[in-house]
């Protein structure tokens, strides 16, 4: 295992913060589990601009894959193949969840009953039932994965840890 690549972790963290920020300002609180559990009282500050609605649709998918690929890649300190596996794994995860919103019945039936009442996991069924499939999210995830791989390669550290 190599050293932690701080550059990658910092960029990943930045992308994650940007994604969270975008989500908070572009989505009505009641539509997110985040909002319901934190009871964030900023409903009035939800920016209902067309621009944010447009980019708020698929940009979080892009940023999610980008951020977590960079974070895990940076922490893991992998080689080229490792980076590729990490990026593809996050792409696969995001695509799987997105497809679950298309095949709602199959996805919601695959959720174990034991998830009921478990923090975060209890929202999984609701995620599939209330979410809307969007092929642009798939494309955004693919772009996020490609961008993450590119950044990981550009910022990789050859030194051994």
């Amino acid at each position: 295992m190599r050293c932690v690549n701080k550059t990658q972790v910092v960029i990943g963290t930045g992308a994650l913060f940007l994604g969270v920020l975008l989500y908070l300002i572009s989505r009505p609180v009641e539509q997110t589990y985040f909002g319901s559990i934190l009871e964030i009282s900023y409903k009035a500050r939800h920016w209902d601009s067309r621009f944010l609605n447009e980019i708020g649709g698929s940009l979080p998918s892009f940023l999610h894959v980008l951020a977590f690929s960079l974070l895990v890649g940076g922490l893991f300190g992998a080689r080229k193949t490792g980076y590729l596996i990490i990026c593809l794994a996050w792409l696969f995860t995001n695509v799987l969840f997105e497809l679950g919103q298309k095949h709602i019945t199959t996805a919601s039936q695959a959720i174990p009953q034991s998830f009921e009442g478990v923090f975060i996991l209890e929202n999984m069924k609701s995620y599939f039932l209330k979410g809307t499939y969007d092929h642009f999210d798939i494309l955004a995830s693919c772009a996020g994965s490609a961008a993450a791989y590119w950044v990981l390669l550009r910022t990789r550290d050859e030194r051994r840890g």
């Binding site: 539509q31 649709g57 919601s108 039936q109 929202n123 995620y127 209330k130």
Partner: protein, 225 residues
């Protein structure tokens, strides 16, 4: 120094695992997650009791005679083959989908569950499993007729199997009939009608389903948007 390195390595593993967990959590907790600005559909739930005037069973005796019974009169619906007499019963349940509290023709089906109470079971050997075949059919109400018994004359539009165990006697069973409801909706059927019969993999076994009072009568629960 070696110990510090070990601790750091463990901390790093935890950070990676934590990062992955956070990644999953952010997807799930993002609620509607993605969506391209489209509004999430509202989910509705309909609970529909079967129509006792249409429900019933058809008995095919060893002497090739059809006998039709109405659930309104018997208070139950039979499905299967009697292990001693060899008489075959095919049960029919009908759920009206129209009207208030029904399922609109344009609705997308999320799930459909059939709730039935098993009054009794007649089996050849103890602890026997009775596999029932559920056919989605479309027979014109108000009553069933002898030809509805025949799978050639009244072909199934979709079928599925579910097992009833002798231990299920006196209990209420939940059967996932989403695949049948999907087909009924796709074909635009006004009624969700089912034919229950013994699966061809079994020789005998008879199940009596309660269809007397509304508390225990067959109930269809549909989640749709």
């Amino acid at each position: 120094m070696k110990m510090v390195k070990g601790v750091l390595r463990i901390a790093r593993y935890f950070a990676i695992i934590g990062c992955c967990a956070l990644g999953f959590a952010t997807i799930v907790a993002s609620g509607g997650g993605g969506g391209g600005g489209e509004a999430a559909p509202t989910v509705f739930i309909s609970q529909i009791l079967s129509d006792p005037d249409t429900d019933g069973d058809i008995k095919f005796t060893a002497f090739s005679i059809f006998e039709i019974s109405s659930a309104r009169e018997t208070g139950s619906v039979l499905a299967g083959i009697h292990p001693i007499s060899g008489d075959e019963y095919r049960g029919f349940l009908s759920f009206p989908l129209g009207g208030p509290g029904g399922v609109p023709g344009t609705a997308g089906i999320l799930s459909a569950t059939l709730e039935i109470s098993v009054i009794s079971m007649t089996v050849a050997t103890p602890n026997q499993t009775v596999p029932l075949l559920i056919d989605l059919v479309s027979f014109p109400p108000p009553t069933i007729i002898a030809s509805d018994f025949d799978r050639n004359l009244q072909p199934p539009l979709q079928s599925m199997i579910f097992n009833v165990f002798t231990s299920d006697t006196g209990t209420t069973l939940l059967v996932d009939v989403t695949v049948l409801m999907d087909e009924a909706q796709r074909q635009g059927l006004a009624d969700f009608q089912l034919r229950l019969l013994l699966d061809f993999s079994a020789l005998s076994g008879l199940v009596e389903i309660d269809d007397s009072i509304s508390e225990t009568a067959p109930l269809l629960t549909v989640e749709f948007f």
